[in-house]
Amino acid sequence: MYDGGKIVPGLIIFVGLMTFPLWYNSGNAGPAPKLEKPAGKTACVKDTHFMRTSHMVLLNQWRDTVLRDGDRTEVTAAGEKYEKSLMLGCMKCHSDKKKFCDECHQYAAVKPYCWDCHFPPKENL
C-alpha cells in the first residue's frame, strides 16, 4: 500500500471520530421520559405496547382510510367511540402535546411533521 503509514492512522482517527457519540454514550440511554396520560380514561384504542411502538403506523392507516377511502367509521375503546383523527380523536384525550408527544419524540430524536398542518389542542402555532 502506498502511504500506508498515513492512511491507516488516518482511517482509525476517522472511524473513531465518526463513532464517538456511540461509544461515549454506550450503555446510557438517559432517563426514559414519563408521559402524561389522560385523566379519567382507562383504555386507548390499542394496547399500550402497540401504541408505544406503532402509533405512527396506526395514524398512517387512519389517514389513508379516512382520506382516500372515505371510511370514517369510529373506533371503540372501553365502550367509548373515537374519531379516526389525530386532531379530533387522539388529541381530545391526550390534550397536552408537549407533555405527551414532544417529550418522547425529543427523547427518540424524531421530528414528525404532523403539526406543520394539524393543530395541537392548545393555542400554539
Partner: protein, 281 residues
C-alpha cells in the same frame, strides 16, 4: 451486413409485437385507479356528446344559479369567505403567491369556449363563481405521479397533502385553473406588516392548514359531508336557490330535477373532463 439485417429483423419483430399490445396496455394505464370513470368505456359512449357520465356509484355536483348571485351582490363573497375561513385558506395579499379554492371571475374567463358576442350586458358583466369542477374524468388525477390527487368513489377529486411532492404537474394539467400551490408557509406572516396569512381570529382549529410546497384546492367539503352537513358554500347560500348540491347519479335528486328542467352549461365540456359543476346563466 447479413448479421446486421438479421439483427434488424429481430428488433423489428419484437417492436411489432410490442406495438400490437400497446393500445390495450395504454387503455389499462389511462384508466388509472378509478373504476367509476366512464373514460374506460370509451367505445360504449352514446352519441349524446361529451357531457355524459357513467351512472356508477355517487357523483356529487353543484348547480350554480348565477342569476341569483347577480341579484344578491354580497352573496358570492359571503360564500367565498366562509369557505376560505373554515378551510384555513391563507391570504398572502399578493397575486404571485395567491391561493384560492372558490372565487369569482368574468363570463369570458369562466366560459372561454362559449361565445360571448352580442350577449346582454348584464350577463356579460355578471361575475361567475368558479371552483374545482370535480371532473368525472379529471386530467389532474391522470397527471399526478404519486396518486396524491385522486378520485374518490363519490366523485370528489381529493388531495392527500401528506403525499404531494409539489411537482405541480396537476396545475399544468387542470384546464380550469382550479389548483393553487403553497409557494410559502401558509402559517407564516408578512415580514413588513406582521400580519398572519391566516388571520388568527379566523383559524378553524378543527381543520388542518397546509404546509409549504404542496398543491391545494377545493375538497368539496368532504369533512362536512362525512358528518351529514352541506358544503359550506351551499350552506351560506342557504335557501336562496343560488347553489344546489346533490348526487348527479341519483335520478330522483333535486339537482337532477333542476338539470332536467333548466338549461345549464358546464365549463369547457369539449375537453371530455365531464365537469360536475353546472351553471344556470
Amino acid at each position: 451486413m447479413d448479421m446486421k439485417r438479421r439483427d434488424f429483423l429481430k428488433i423489428a419483430g419484437i417492436s411489432t409485437i410490442a406495438g400490437i399490445g400497446a393500445p390495450a396496455a395504454l387503455q389499462v394505464l389511462l384508466k388509472g385507479e378509478v373504476p367509476a370513470s366512464s373514460f374506460a368505456s370509451g367505445g360504449a359512449e352514446e352519441e349524446t356528446g361529451h357531457g355524459v357520465a357513467a351512472p356508477v356509484g355517487r357523483r356529487y355536483g353543484f348547480v350554480i344559479d348565477t342569476r341569483v348571485f347577480a341579484k344578491d351582490q354580497g352573496l358570492a363573497q359571503k360564500c367565498i369567505n366562509a369557505c376560505h375561513r373554515i378551510h384555513n385558506v391563507p391570504d398572502f395579499r399578493n397575486k404571485k403567491d395567491e391561493i384560492k379554492w372558490i372565487w369569482e371571475t368574468g363570463y369570458a374567463n369562466a366560459f372561454t369556449s362559449k361565445s360571448h358576442n352580442l350577449r346582454s350586458d348584464e350577463v356579460h358583466h355578471r361575475k361567475y363563481m368558479v371552483l374545482c369542477n370535480h371532473c368525472d374524468n379529471p386530467p389532474c388525477v391522470r397527471a399526478c405521479p404519486t396518486k396524491a390527487t385522486f378520485k374518490r368513489p363519490d366523485g370528489i377529486v381529493a388531495m392527500d397533502y401528506h403525499r404531494c411532492i409539489g411537482c405541480r404537474f396537476c396545475m399544468a394539467a387542470c384546464p380550469y385553473g382550479s389548483r393553487s400551490f403553497n409557494w410559502r408557509d401558509p402559517r407564516g406572516k408578512d415580514d413588513k406588516t406582521g400580519r398572519y396569512f391566516i388571520e388568527r381570529k379566523h383559524l378553524n382549529k378543527d381543520f388542518p392548514t397546509r404546509m409549504r410546497g404542496v398543491v391545494e384546492k377545493c375538497n368539496l367539503c368532504v369533512e362536512r359531508l362525512a358528518k351529514g352537513k352541506m358544503p359550506k358554500c351551499v350552506e351560506e347560500a342557504g335557501n336562496s336557490g343560488a347553489m344546489i348540491f346533490g348526487d348527479l347519479n341519483d335520478p330522483h335528486s333535486e339537482i337532477r330535477k333542476v338539470l332536467a328542467s333548466t338549461f345549464t352549461i358546464q365549463r369547457k365540456p369539449e375537453l371530455g373532463t365531464k365537469p360536475s359543476i353546472f351553471y344556470i346563466v
